[in-house]
Amino acid sequence: MKTREQRDLFPGALEMMILRTLKRQPLHGYALAQHIKRTSNDLLQIEEGSLYPALQRLLKEELLKAEWGISSTNRRVRIYKVTAAGAKHLEHEVSRFEKMLDGITRVLAPGES
C-alpha cells in the first residue's frame, strides 16, 4: 500500500504551491489541479485528489477562504481565495524554503573541497 507521504514532495510543498497559485488568481479545485500540473510541466505526478485534503487543511487554518460560484464551463464550483493570513504564511514559507534550498544547493555543490 502506498503511503500518503509519497504523493507529496515534502511536508508543506503542496500547500505552498496551492497558496502561490491561488495568490495569482482565485480558482476552483479542478482548475487549480490542472494549473499546477500544467505549470510544473507534468513533472509533479500528483494525484488530483490529494489537493482536497490540503485545501481543507488550509481552509481550517483560515489561510484560504472559499465561495460557491459558477465556472467558465457553467458548473457550480467552489472558488478558493488566499486570505491575508494566507499571503503572509506563503511569504514566510517561501523564504524558509529558499533558505533550505540554498543550504541543500551548497551541500550538493561539486568540488570546492
Binding site: M1, R4, R7, G29, Y30, A33, E47, E48, G49, S50, Y52, P53, L55, Q56, R57, K60, E62, W68, S71, T73, R75, R76, V77, R78
Partner: protein, 883 residues
C-alpha cells in the same frame, strides 16, 4: 470558526465536499471526451488520475473532525450492527462473558466488602487491638488490672477502651429473650469515633464496682422494645434480673467484632472475680486509637516497656506476659483472607477460560470475515483502523456480557453469603458498590481487549490479495494453531480448578469419616436462662439447675440429659494451666495447658463418650465431698505414659482448683475441629459442675448448655422441653437450639465454604471448556468436510473418520491435561493456604488428579461426539463436485 460552529455546520459541509469532488471528476471526464476519448474510458481515466475517491473524501473530512472520538463512535455503530446481524454468535459470546464476569464480580464484591473496604469507624486505620501474650499463645485475653495500668501510663494512644462479650437475659420490657451483650469501658464509642444515635456514653464513675446500673441499647432493641420512642432515655431494661437505666442508643448498622450486640453495660460493674484478679485472662479485649504520628511498631515498643515494668511489680500474676498489638481490621477479618484470595484466583481462572472461548469464537468468525476485511483494506482502510474496529467489537461484546454478568453477580453474592452463614466477617458490608462496579468495568474492558487480540492480529496480517482470490480457502494452519492452543490452555485451567475442588471434596469426605469421640446422632443442645429469682445464692443456683435438668429428664422421649459448659466442635471452650500432684510451675503463663469441661454427672452417658478406666462423676460429687477430676485418653497418654493416672492428682486454673484426685479416664473427643491433629491443646479434663466453688457459680452456671439425647426429632420434642422450662418459671428463655449434627456440620464450614465455591467455579469451567472444545472441533470439521469427503471416496471407513475427529479432540485435551496436572501440582504446593485446608489427602493426591483427568477426557469425548457424527456423514460427491 469555533469548534462548536464546525460541529453543527459539518453535515452540510460534507455534502458540499462530495459535490465538489464529483464535479471535479465530471469536469475532467468532459474534457477528456472533448479531446476525443470514449465516454467509458474517459470516466476510468478521470478516476485514475484523481486517486482513491473514498479515501480522499474521508481524509478531507478527517481534517475537520475530532478524529479518534468520531472514528470510535462510527466503529461503535458498526460494531453494534455487526453483532446484531449474527444474534446466535452474539448470544453465546455474551452469555459466556456474563458467566465469567458475573462470577468474578460476585467474588470480588465479597473480597472488597470483607477485606478491602475500610471499617465503618472514624479513621479506622488508626485503631489497634492490644493483647497480652505468653510463650504458648500469641494472643491472650487481657487482665483488667493490667488494662487499667496501661490506660493510665501509655502515651502512644489517644484513647484506650476495653470490652468483653457477655450474653444477658432480657426480661422486661416485653417477653423474656436472651441477647448478645457487650460489657464496655467508658470511652469505648469515643475510641471508635462513633456518635451515638441518642444519649451518651458511660461516665467513668458508672464504669466501676457499685456504679449505677446504666445501659446503652442497640437500634434494633430500641425499635423492637421501645417503638423507636425518642423518650427512651431514662427508661428501664431488666437484664439478668437487674433494672438498668437506658442512657444511650447505638446508631443503626453499628457493629463491633464478630457478633451483633443488643445491650452494652459498663465493664467496671462486671464480676470482681475477673476484674480484681490480675492473673485472670478471661475474655477482655483492649481497643486503642493511636496518637497521630505514632506507628504500630512504636506503640508495641512502648507497651512492651510498660508491661515489663508491670511484670516486675507483679511477678506472680504477670511473669512471662508480653504484649501484642495489631490493627483492628486484622482482628475483624481474621483468617478468611487467605481463603478469599485463593477463591478470587480460582474465579480468575474461570474468566480466562471464558475469554479463551470468546477468543475462539471471534477467531472463527474473523476467518469468515476475511473477505470483508480484505475488501475494506483494498478500499484503503488502514490497518490500525481495522484492528481498532475488531477491538471495538470485542469490547462491546464484553461490556454487554458484563451488564448481564452484574445480574448474575447480584444473585451470586447472595448465594455466596448464604452458602455458609457465619463464616464471613463483615458480610453485611458485601454488595455491588462503586468500587465493585469499577472493577467490573475495568475487568470487562480488559478481557474485551484480551479476547479481541487474536482476531485483531489476524486482521492486521490479512493479505487482501490472497483472500480476494476466488476459491482460496486461505492459510488456516496458523489459525488452527491459535484455536488449539486456546483449547489446551482451557483444559489445563479447568483441570487445576477441578483438582482443587476434588481435593476439598475428598477432605470433606474424610472429615465425615473422622470419629468425633461421641455419638453425634440424636443429640439436641440448647441454653436456658434460669430465672434470677432462683439463683440469688450459689446453693440455690445449684438446686435450681438440678431441678431443671431433673424436669427435662422426666419428659417422655428424653433418654438422657445433662449440663456442660463447653459443647465440643461448637467453637466454645478455653484452656487453662495445670500441674500434676505437687509440681506447681514457677510461672502459670508458661505452664502446660488443658481444655476443661465443667459437666454434670450424666454428661458422659448423654454424649455417648466411652469410659475407659475408673469412674465418671456421680451426684455425690459435690462441694461437700473430696474434689475429683476425669481426664481423657490423650491426657493419660501424654502425661501418664508409665503410671496409673488414678494414682495422681490434678490442679488447674489461674485461680487454681485442686489438687483433685483423678478418678477416671474417658475417650478422647474432638474438641476444636474434626481431624485437627495440630499441636493445639488436645488433652482434655472434666470437672463436676456441682463441685464448682461458690465464687465461680454466678459466672459458670449461666454459661452452661443442656445436652439432650433423644430418638425424637428436635422439632417434635423442643415444644415439650420449652413448655417444661417455662412451666418451672415463665421468665426463663430457651435459646441457641441446635442439633449436634448441625454443630458438626458448621464446624466444617472453613472447608465447606471454599469447597462449595471452588466446586461451582470448577463446574463453570468444565461447562465453558466443553463448549470450547466442541466449538473448535466442530469448526474444524466444517473446514475439513472436503478432506473427509475425499477420504471417504478413497475408501476410508466411517469409523476411521469418527476416530480421526475424536482423536483430534482427545489430543488437545491430553496436552491440556498434562500441562494442567503439572500446574496443579505446583500450585497446590505453592499455596500454603490451600494445603492448610486439606485433611486426609495430600495436595498432590494422584487419585484425585487421575479421577479428574478421566472426567475431563470423558467430557471431551462427549463434546467431540456431535461434530464427529457430522464428519461421518460427509458425502464424497458433494466434496468432489465442489473441487
Amino acid at each position: 470558526m469555533s469548534w462548536l460552529k464546525q460541529l453543527f455546520s459539518r453535515r452540510r459541509f460534507y455534502g458540499e465536499l462530495s459535490l465538489e469532488i464529483r464535479e471535479h471528476i465530471n469536469e475532467r471526464i468532459e474534457e477528456l471526451v472533448a479531446e476525443g476519448m470514449p465516454k467509458k474510458e474517459a470516466a476510468a481515466a478521470a478516476r485514475r488520475e484523481f486517486g482513491n475517491m473514498t479515501l480522499i473524501e474521508e481524509d478531507s473530512r478527517a481534517i475537520w473532525q475530532w478524529p479518534t472520538v468520531e472514528s470510535f463512535l462510527s466503529d461503535l455503530r458498526y460494531g453494534v450492527r455487526m453483532l446484531r446481524t449474527s444474534p446466535g454468535f452474539t448470544a453465546v459470546a455474551v452469555l459466556t462473558v456474563a458467566l465469567g464476569i458475573g462470577a468474578n464480580t460476585a467474588m470480588f464484591s465479597v473480597v472488597e466488602g470483607v477485606l478491602l473496604s475500610p471499617l465503618q469507624y472514624f479513621q479506622p486505620d488508626r485503631l489497634v487491638m492490644v493483647w497480652e501474650n505468653n510463650p504458648r499463645f500469641p494472643r491472650v485475653w487481657v487482665s483488667y488490672p493490667n488494662f487499667l495500668d496501661w490506660q493510665r501510663t501509655a502515651r502512644s494512644f489517644q484513647q484506650m477502651a476495653a470490652g468483653m462479650e457477655q450474653g444477658v437475659d432480657l426480661t422486661a420490657p416485653g417477653t423474656p429473650e436472651h441477647l448478645n451483650g457487650e460489657e464496655i469501658s467508658s470511652g469505648f464509642f469515643r475510641t471508635l469515633g462513633v456518635e451515638l444515635a441518642l444519649g451518651r456514653e458511660f461516665f467513668p464513675q458508672e464504669d466501676q464496682r457499685g456504679g449505677s446500673p446504666v445501659a446503652i441499647i442497640s437500634n434494633r432493641l430500641w425499635r423492637n422494645r421501645f417503638d423507636t420512642n425518642p423518650e427512651v432515655l431514662g427508661k428501664y431494661v431488666t437484664l439478668d434480673g437487674v433494672d438498668f437505666t437506658v442512657v444511650g442508643v447505638v446508631p443503626s448498622g453499628f457493629s463491633f467484632g464478630h457478633q451483633y450486640a443488643d445491650v452494652y453495660t459498663p465493664l467496671g460493674r462486671s464480676d470482681p472475680l475477673i476484674l480484681n484478679d490480675r492473673a485472670a485472662h478471661d475474655g477482655i479485649f483492649t481497643l486503642a486509637r493511636l496518637q497521630p504520628g505514632v506507628t504500630l511498631a512504636q506503640s508495641q515498643a512502648e507497651m512492651s516497656t510498660i508491661q515489663n515494668g508491670l511484670d516486675q511489680l507483679y511477678p506472680d500474676a504477670n511473669r512471662d506476659l508480653g504484649i501484642y498489638t495489631e490493627p483492628l481490621k486484622q482482628v475483624v477479618v481474621g483468617n478468611v483472607d487467605r481463603t478469599l484470595l485463593l477463591l478470587l484466583g480460582a474465579v480468575g481462572f474461570v474468566l480466562m477460560i471464558a475469554c479463551a472461548n470468546v477468543a475462539n469464537l471471534l477467531l472463527a468468525r474473523s476467518a469468515a470475515r476475511t473477505r470483508e476485511f480484505a475488501i475494506r483494506s483494498a478500499l484503503g482502510a488502514n490497518r490500525l483502523r481495522l484492528v481498532r474496529q475488531v477491538l471495538t467489537e470485542s469490547v462491546l461484546l464484553s461490556l454487554a456480557g458484563a451488564g448481564l454478568g452484574l445480574l448474575i453477580a447480584t444473585w451470586g453474592v447472595r448465594s455466596v453469603v448464604a452458602a455458609v452463614p457465619g463464616i464471613l466477617p463483615r458480610s453485611e458490608n458485601i454488595g455491588l458498590n462503586a468500587p465493585v462496579l469499577l472493577f467490573t468495568l475495568g475487568a470487562s474492558i480488559t478481557v474485551g481487549i484480551l479476547f479481541g487480540l487474536a482476531p485483531a492480529l489476524r486482521s492486521w496480517k490479512a493479505d487482501p490479495q490472497a483472500s480476494l482470490k476466488e476459491g482460496v480457502r486461505g492459510s488456516t494452519s496458523a489459525h488452527h494453531h491459535a484455536h488449539n492452543s486456546l483449547v489446551i490452555v482451557q483444559m489445563a485451567l479447568t483441570l487445576v480448578l477441578l483438582v482443587g475442588a476434588g481435593l476439598l471434596f475428598q477432605t470433606m469426605r474424610h472429615l465425615w469419616d473422622v470419629n468425633p469421640g461421641f455419638d453425634v446422632q440424636h443429640l439436641i443442645t440448647f441454653k436456658v436462662g434460669v430465672s434470677h429469682a432462683l439463683t440469688k445464692t450459689p446453693s440455690s443456683t445449684r438446686v435450681a439447675y438440678q431441678q431443671l435438668i431433673g424436669r427435662i429428664r422426666q419428659i417422655p422421649g428424653v433418654q438422657a440429659a445433662d449440663f456442660t459448659d463447653t459443647v465440643p466442635l461448637s467453637g466454645q471452650g478455653g484452656t487453662m494451666p495445670f500441674w500434676i500432684d505437687s509440681q506447681k510451675p514457677a510461672s502459670l503463663q508458661g505452664a502446660p495447658r488443658l481444655a476443661m469441661f465443667l459437666t454434670g454427672p450424666d454428661y458422659l452417658r448423654t454424649m455417648g463418650i466411652p469410659l475407659l478406666q475408673g469412674r465418671f462423676f456421680t451426684p455425690e460429687d459435690t462441694t461437700k465431698s473430696p474434689c475429683v477430676m476425669v481426664i481423657d485418653s490423650i491426657f493419660a497418654h501424654i502425661y501418664f505414659p508409665d503410671s496409673d493416672p488414678l494414682d495422681h492428682t490434678l490442679s488447674a486454673g489461674f485461680s487454681p482448683v485442686g489438687p483433685c484426685r483423678i478418678v477416671g479416664v474417658v475417650g478422647h473427643v474432638e474438641q476444636w475441629a474434626l481431624g485437627d491433629s495440630s499441636a493445639y491443646i488436645q488433652n482434655l479434663a472434666y470437672f463436676p459442675l456441682y463441685q464448682d466453688p461458690d465464687q465461680w457459680v454466678p459466672l459458670n452456671y449461666p454459661e452452661t448448655t443442656v445436652v439432650v439425647r433423644t430418638a425424637l426429632d428436635a422439632a417434635a420434642i423442643m415444644p415439650t422441653i420449652k413448655a417444661t422450662v417455662y412451666g418451672a418459671s415463665s421468665d426463663q428463655p430457651v435459646y441457641n437450639i441446635r442439633t449436634m449434627q448441625q454443630i458438626v456440620w458448621e464446624s466444617m464450614s472453613s472447608q465447606r465454604f471454599p469447597m462449595i465455591l471452588l466446586g461451582t467455579f470448577a463446574g463453570l469451567a468444565l461447562l465453558l471448556a466443553s463448549i470450547g472444545i466442541y466449538g473448535v472441533i466442530s469448526y474444524s470439521v466444517t473446514q475439513r468436510v472436503h478432506e473427509f469427503g475425499i477420504r471417504v471416496a478413497l475408501g476410508a471407513g466411517k469409523q476411521g473418520i469418527f476416530r480421526l475427529v475424536v482423536g483430534q479432540g482427545l489430543r488437545l485435551a491430553l496436552a491440556g491435561l498434562a500441562i494442567g496436572a503439572a500446574a496443579a501440582l505446583m500450585l497446590t504446593r505453592l499455596l500454603s493456604s490451600f494445603s492448610h485446608l486439606l485433611y486426609g489427602v495430600g495436595a498432590s493426591d494422584p487419585l484425585t488428579i487421575v479421577a479428574v483427568s478421566l472426567v475431563l477426557a470423558g467430557v471431551t469425548i462427549l463434546a467431540c461426539y456431535i461434530p464427529a457424527r457430522r464428519a461421518m456423514r460427509a458425502d464424497p460427491m458433494v466434496a468432489l463436485r465442489h473441487e
